[in-house]
Amino acid sequence: MRGFLPFFGRRLLRALIALWLVSTVVFVVMRLSGDPVPLLLPPDAPHSEILRVRRELGLDKPIPVQYVVFLSNLAHGDFGRSIHFRQPAFDVVRGYLPATIELGLTAFVLAVVVAVPIGLFSAMRRNTIVDHAAMGFALVGQAAPTFFIGILLILLLSLKADLFPTSGRGDWRNLVLPALTLGAFTMASTARLTRSAVLEVFRADYIRTARAKGVAEAWVVAKHTLKNAAIPIVTITGLQFGTLLGGSVVTETVFSWPGIGRLAVQSIYNRDYAVVQCTVFLAALMFVIINFCVDLIYGFLDPRIRTG
C-alpha cells in the first residue's frame, strides 16, 4: 500500500480544484449576466423595492464578499430559490435526479454489455467482413452527433416500425431508445477499445506459448486474454460514465425524459438561473466523484499508475 496515500491525496486535491474552478466560473458568469433583480420583480416595481430586494439577496455588497458568501452557500447545499418552481433550487433538482441516474446507468450497462463481446469478436475475426462492418459501425457511432442518433432512432424504430414509444418515462420500452442514444458513443468507443486491447494481448509471448502448448482457443481467450485486456477496458469505460452526464442533456431533450438535463435546458428558457446553476454544480460534483472513484480503482488494479 506504500505510495497509495500520496496518490489518493493528489487525486483528491485535483478533484477539489476542479469543483472550485467550476463554481468560480458559474459565479463569474452569473455576475456578467447583470442584475437579476428586475427579473424577479414586476416591471413597475418602485425603486425602493428594487433596493430592498438587492439588499436581501446580498447584491449590494462588494463582489469579493459576494463571492465568499456564494462559495459558503454552495458548501452548505444552498443554491438559492427557483423563481419558476417557487421552492429551493436544490429540492427541484433532487426531484429530477432519479430519472437521470436511471437513464445513465441503463445506457452505460447496455453499452458495455453490447460493446465488449463485439470488440472481442472483432479481434478474434480480425480483418474479416464482420470485423470491418463492426468497426465501421463503431466509427459512425463515435462521430455521429448524439441528437441526430436520437432523431434517427425515433424515426425508424418508433414512427416507422412502431416498436417503442417516442418519448416520456414509463416502463422498460420507454428506456430502450434513450439508452441506446445516450450509450451510442460509449458503445462505439468501448467496442474499438476492447478490440485493440485484445489484439494487444494476443501479441504477448504468453499467448503464443499457450497456443503453442495446444491450449484450446476458447480457453486462451477466456482465461489468458480477457483478464489482461480488462484493465484498460475497465478504467477507460469507467471514465466514460462521467461523459454520459454531458450527453444526457441532449438525450433527455430529444426524448422528453424528465431528468436534470432537460430540466437544465427548460430552466434556461425560463431564465431560472438558480436551477441552472444547481444542475451544473451537481453534475460537476457527480462527474468529479465518479472520476475520483475510477482513479482509485485504477490505482488498486494497476500499482504502476500510483507513481505516475
Binding site: 485535483r14 478533484a15 480544484i17 476542479a18 474552478l21 467550476v22 466560473v25 458559474v26 458568469v29 452569473m30 456578467l32 449576466s33 480480425r126 480483418n127 468497426m135 466509427l139 459512425v140 463515435q142 462521430a143 455521429a144 452527433p145 448524439t146 441528437f147 441526430f148 432523431i151 434517427l152 425515433i154 424515426l155 414512427l159 468507443s189 474499438r192 477499445l193 485493440s196 489484439l199 462521467g242 461523459t243 452526464l245 454531458g246 450527453g247 442533456v249 441532449v250 431533450t253 430529444v254 437544465a264 435546458v265 434556461i268 428558457y269 438561473y273 441552472v276 446553476q277 444542475t279 451544473v280 453534475a283 460537476a284 462527474f287 468529479v288 472520476n291
Partner: protein
Amino acid sequence: MASSIPASAPADAALPAPALRLAVRRRRRFPPLVVAGVGFVVVLLLVAAAAPLLAPHDPVRQSLRGRLAPPTWNGADGRAHLLGTDHLGRDVLSRVIYGSRVSLVVGFAAVIIGGVLGSAAGLVAGFSRGRLDAIIMTIADAQLAFPFVLLAIGIIAVLGPSFPTLVVVIGLSGWVSYARILRSQVLVVRSREFVESIHALGGSMARIILRHVLPNVLSSIVVIATLELARSIVLEATLSFLGLGIQPPTPSWGGMVQEGREYLDSAWWISTFPGLVLMITSIAVSRTGDWLRDVLDPTLRGE
C-alpha cells in the same frame, strides 16, 4: 486507439531496406476512405463559398402554399424542391447549402481561437515553469475533468445566444490539447544546449519559438486542429439544436433538425437531410484527422 493494426506490420521488420521504404510509402498512399473524406470536405468548402450561386431558392423565403412538400421535381410553385420544403415552405436543399456556411465558419473560427489561446498558454507555461506553469496546467486538468458541454450551456444560457459567444465558448472548450503539446515541446527544447547558446549570443525568445519550437509541433497542431474541427462543428450543431446556438431564421444544420422534430412523422425530410449532411461531415473530418495522425504523428495515438 485508432482502428486497425496493418496486417503486414510484423513482416516489415524482416524486409530489406528498399522494400521497407516501399512498403511504408505504399501504406502512406491515400486510402479510398480518406480520399472520400477529404473530397467531401473540399466540396463542402466550395459549396459554402458559392452558396448564393448553388442554392436553387432563397433559404429564408417562406411559402404558405408550399409547406411540408416532400422531395419533388415539381412543387406547388412549379419549381423543384429536391429535398422537400419545411413547415414554413422554405426549400430544405437551399437551407442545407446555406447551413454549411454556419457550420464551417463557426468550426474554423472556434478552432483558431482554441489553437491560438492553447498555443499561447502552452508556450507561457513551458517557458515560465514555476507557479504560472502550475496554474495553467491545473486549469487544463480541471477542464478535462469536467464535461465542458454542460458549462457551455450554462454560460450561453446566461450571456444569451449570439454568434461571438458561441464561437468563443466552443473555442475555449478546445484549448487544452494545444497547450499540452506546446508546453512539452518547449520543455524539450529549452533543456538543449543550443538554446542556451542562442540566449548567450543575444538571440531573442521569438527566434527560439519560431525556429526551434514551432517546426517541431506543427504536424501535431495540424492533427489536433483537424480533430477539433470535427468536434467544434458537432458542438455548434448540438447547441443550435438545443436552441442555444445560431438563432432562426438563419439556417444551421442543428437548428434545422430541431425545427423538423415536430414534423418527423409527416415530413421526415426536414430533420433527416441536414442531420445526414452533418453526420457525414463529422465522419469525413474526423477520419481525415485520424489518418493525418497516423501519417504525421503516430505518437498522438494514445490521446
